[in-house]
């Protein structure tokens, strides 16, 4: 496992915005709010921004139509863990700002589960930080997915391949 484990970070220089969201959220509205925050705090917008949006697939592992995806988490640890992963990734790549929004609860097919956005001074750091933070979230943040299909719930014990 090559992802950094969640740990308390010592110095946080980047602007971090972390949110667990129990209701449906619209990634573009969330990005618009984040842009306002960036503009207010930084004055000018950073030269490079990389975003990732993950959405629930219409069918589950057995290819049956999915009713919903349920996301269980470990309250308290999850938030701290995401914050620490985001701080580590931002620090490693010298990112200016990081936004993570992650759904919990029941998420419908087509709905956004996760949004990761990274602002940086150059495209490489923005892209790499966004990519690595997403992988870290998938492997290191205490979330568990259960697929609901035809009235049956099945816990997922891994991630889709990269």
């Amino acid at each position: 496992m090559s992802w950094p484990s969640c740990r308390q970070s010592v110095v946080v220089k980047a602007m971090l915005a972390i949110q667990l969201e129990a209701e449906q959220f619209e990634p573009l509205s969330a990005l618009a709010e984040w842009h306002q925050l960036l503009a207010a705090r930084l004055g000018i917008r950073p030269a490079a921004e990389s975003h990732f949006v993950g959405r629930v697939r219409p069918s589950g592992a057995n290819d049956a139509p999915l009713t919903a995806l349920e996301l269980e988490h470990y309250p308290g640890m999850t938030e701290a863990c995401i914050a620490s992963l985001a701080a580590a990734a931002a620090g490693q790549h010298g990112a200016t700002a990081v936004l993570v929004i992650h759904r919990i609860g029941l998420v419908l097919p087509g709905d956004a589960i996760v949004l990761v956005a990274v602002a940086a001074d150059r495209r490489g750091p923005a892209q790499r930080c966004c990519q690595e933070l997403l992988e870290a979230l998938k492997h290191e943040a205490p979330f568990w997915k259960r697929e609901w299909s035809q009235g049956v719930g099945s816990w997922i014990t891994g991630n889709t391949p990269l």
Binding site: Y74, G76, M77, H102, L137, H139, W144
Partner: protein, 94 residues
């Protein structure tokens, strides 16, 4: 209902997701046994508690991880009274 006389001598154990469902409980207060031989410095390990609570399978599967006080920890960490111990089945976030 756990019979508890002194919460300071207990460890709070939490299960999640498939493990929680398979065992049928999500939280349990576990009384720390007085250490054998009066050596009070090293508490039980998560691995010992896994067996003591009769979690299945008997040997913890490779994918299951432990957290102590909401930080990832190793199976041979030493637990202290008042700790929160969680057994985490394979993570699938993002």
């Amino acid at each position: 209902m756990a019979v508890s006389t002194d919460p300071e001598s207990q460890v709070q154990v939490r299960l999640f997701a498939g493990l929680r469902e398979a065992m049928g409980w999500s939280e349990q207060l576990v009384e720390l046994a007085p250490a054998a031989g009066g050596n009070n410095t090293a508490g039980p390990t998560p691995e010992q508690l896994w067996r003591q609570l009769n979690l299945q399978p008997t040997n913890p599967p490779a994918g299951v991880r432990v957290a102590i006080n909401q930080q990832f920890a190793t199976w041979d960490s030493s637990l202290a009274a008042g700790d929160e111990l969680a057994f985490l089945p394979p993570i699938s976030g993002g």
